[in-house]
Amino acid sequence: MLRIRDLHASIDGKEILTGLDLDLPAGEVHAVMGPNGAGKSTLSNVLAGRDGYEVRGTATLDGTDLLALEAEDRATAGLFLAFQYPMELPGVGNAYFLRTSLNAIRRAHGLDEVSATDFLSVAREHLTALDMDPAFLSRSVNEGFSGGEKKRNEILQMSMLQPRLAILDETDSGLDIDALRIVARGIERLRGPDRSMLVITHYPRLLELVRPDRIHVLDGGRIVRSGGPELANELEADGYVGVTDRIPA
């Protein structure tokens, strides 16, 4: 599914990703952990196609060269990024945003657009599943949303857009206990043989709810260690310093 080789990314002459390799097979959920400033969000942004990075190396999604595509084309190719800090869009209604997005992706796949009424009934189902107040649909995108509400709104988008590859950048940060469960459920519901997920997190708690197939440690702009779910406990016990120290340079 996702294959990354020797990925480098710099911004303003500063190299942040320093030769990153990662394989994420179809149907699997992988977690990425790593200290603050390690480059986790940079990896997400580079994969999603944010401007401003100087990028080298390869990243393919089902064989398609992601790095050659515009951001919107990566989305229609099935990539979804749940942002660490979702943007506020004053004046853009949340329902309108979601429907425009859904229809843009459907159009790109030669499907008919969904009508406003059909959209609303589908959106309501997803809202209920995420225990979100339908009032969120009529508000401006993320404007005045609490931190946790913004994260839930990202999961709402993800569950409606049904991406093939979802990258969740610290979606669990700032969530209360119930919201964490809801988000975990949203992730679990999306899990399937055709989908993959890259879950960036600082907390083992989410990884107990969503058992990842593998865990990677990102430090200094590359993956420095990979292992099974048990790696989370090791990290919790020894910290990043303890875990990465044991790795030969």
């Binding site: 229609t76 945003f97 425009t100 843009a104």
Partner: protein
């Protein structure tokens, strides 16, 4: 004494013509006209015939298509001449409509207020050259909530001077939608509307300028407030290679108020100049000006807000806010607040901001599969939305929302 209607008008027209001969059109050196490309406006004016060489016939379908349908009453002016065949016959009680040629004695009495010197050459030209002035009278206490839609059509490459006078009786209320449209390009419209608001009356004016992209539009909207009168003006402009709108509110008696909202969306390379003056001549008057402009490639928008607070007035409130969204590095937006305050008891403020499209917001939309151009439209629509949302009637709101994409962003 009976005076023929034509004589009444001739007097105003003659006076305006004499004034015009003495003073001429603005040159661009006047403070009020510094930001309008007056030389180009005058060149355009000189190059065009007064009347269209062969007027194209305008149909009801044309009006529906160009101006929309915004109320049960529609009055159509083609190249400055009233066309009864395209206008509504039946008027609601409390509303009287007439033109220069059919003024009744009752109306004439109300209109014999001497107009005085024209404030500028374009207004003088309008007064002296308009052939068919439209008059709308609202009876005392008449509550006309359904919009009265006045449509001015320019049929093509000629000059027209549409003129509208609205008189709202004591405690009366009118909702006026004034549309300026073009059947063909290349025209010059020099329009003037005066709204006289008697005590405690209320006027809601939506002025829509949607003329051809190569047209030149000079417009004036003048409001005269008596005590406790309120006017709410919404100016929506997008047509024209050059468009200048002067809005003047004279709050002549206590407790008069007005809100003026302008949404300017010029086309590529166009010049829009929006000049608003509110003169607080009495105590406890309030005004609130909000301007938003969307400035594309090579376009230039100037928005001036001139607030005057006269000596010996108290408890005045005067607010101004201008926001511009510049879509391209070659677009330019200028905002020029001008406060002349000669009293102490005044709450006045002004603010302005010019911004560009937010790259992060664009990326967020694109990361959801929305193509760049559509993402831009969504953000522009969102910027305009707070003003568009307030537009009434809904038919007009939808029409204006359409300026910013196929549908609203709500």
């Amino acid at each position: 004494m009976t005076v023929a209607a034509d004589d009444v008008m001739t007097e105003e027209a003659v006076h305006a013509r004499t004034w015009l001969c003495e003073h001429g059109l603005p040159t661009g050196r006047e403070e009020d006209w510094r930001y309008t490309p007056v030389t180009e406006v005058r060149r355009h004016l000189d190059a065009l015939p007064e009347a269209p060489p062969r007027q194209r016939e305008v149909t009801r379908d044309d009006i529906d298509r160009l101006a929309g349908q915004h109320g049960p009453v529609r009055i159509v002016h083609v190249d400055g001449v009233h066309v009864p065949a395209l206008s509504t016959d039946a008027l609601p009680t409390g509303l009287w409509f007439g033109t220069t040629h059919n003024l009744s004695a009752r109306v004439r009495l109300q209109l014999t207020t001497p107009a005085g010197d024209p404030p500028d050459g374009f207004e003088a030209l309008n007064r002296s050259a308009s052939q068919d002035v439209l008059y709308l009278l609202v009876a005392d206490d008449a509550d006309l909530r359904e919009p009265v839609h006045v449509v001015h059509v320019s049929t093509g490459a000629s000059v027209s001077h549409p003129r509208l006078v609205v008189d709202v009786g004591v405690g009366g209320r009118i909702h006026l939608v004034e549309s300026h449209v073009s059947l063909d390009g290349g025209g010059f419209t020099n329009a003037s509307t005066t709204v006289r608001l008697s005590a405690r009356s209320h006027a809601d004016v939506h002025r829509v300028q949607e003329q051809a992209t190569d047209a030149v539009h000079v417009g004036r909207l003048e409001l005269h407030h008596d005590a406790g009168a309120h006017a709410s003006v919404t100016a929506l402009s997008r047509g024209g290679a050059i468009s200048r709108l002067t809005t003047v509110a004279l709050l002549r008696e206590p407790e008069a108020s007005c809100t003026v909202t302008a949404l300017l969306a010029p086309g590529i390379g166009a010049r829009h100049d929006d000049a608003v003056t509110v003169d607080h001549l009495a105590s406890r008057c309030t005004s609130d000006l909000t301007v938003r402009s969307v400035v594309p490639e090579r376009a230039r928008v100037t928005s001036s807000g001139h607030a005057i607070v006269r000596p010996d007035t108290v408890a005045t409130v005067a607010h101004q806010r201008t926001d511009s969204l510049v879509l391209h590095p070659t677009g330019q937006a200028d905002s020029r607040p001008w406060l002349e305050i000669f009293a102490d008891d005044v709450r006045a403020n002004h603010g302005s901001a010019t911004g560009r499209l937010d790259d992060d917001a664009l990326f967020y939309l694109r990361s959801r599969g929305i193509p760049r151009a559509e993402a831009r439209d969504v953000l522009v629509g969102a910027f305009a939305r707070t003003l568009v949302e307030r537009i009434d009637p809904p038919s007009l709101r939808d029409q204006i929302a359409g300026w910013f994409g196929p549908e609203g962003t709500a």
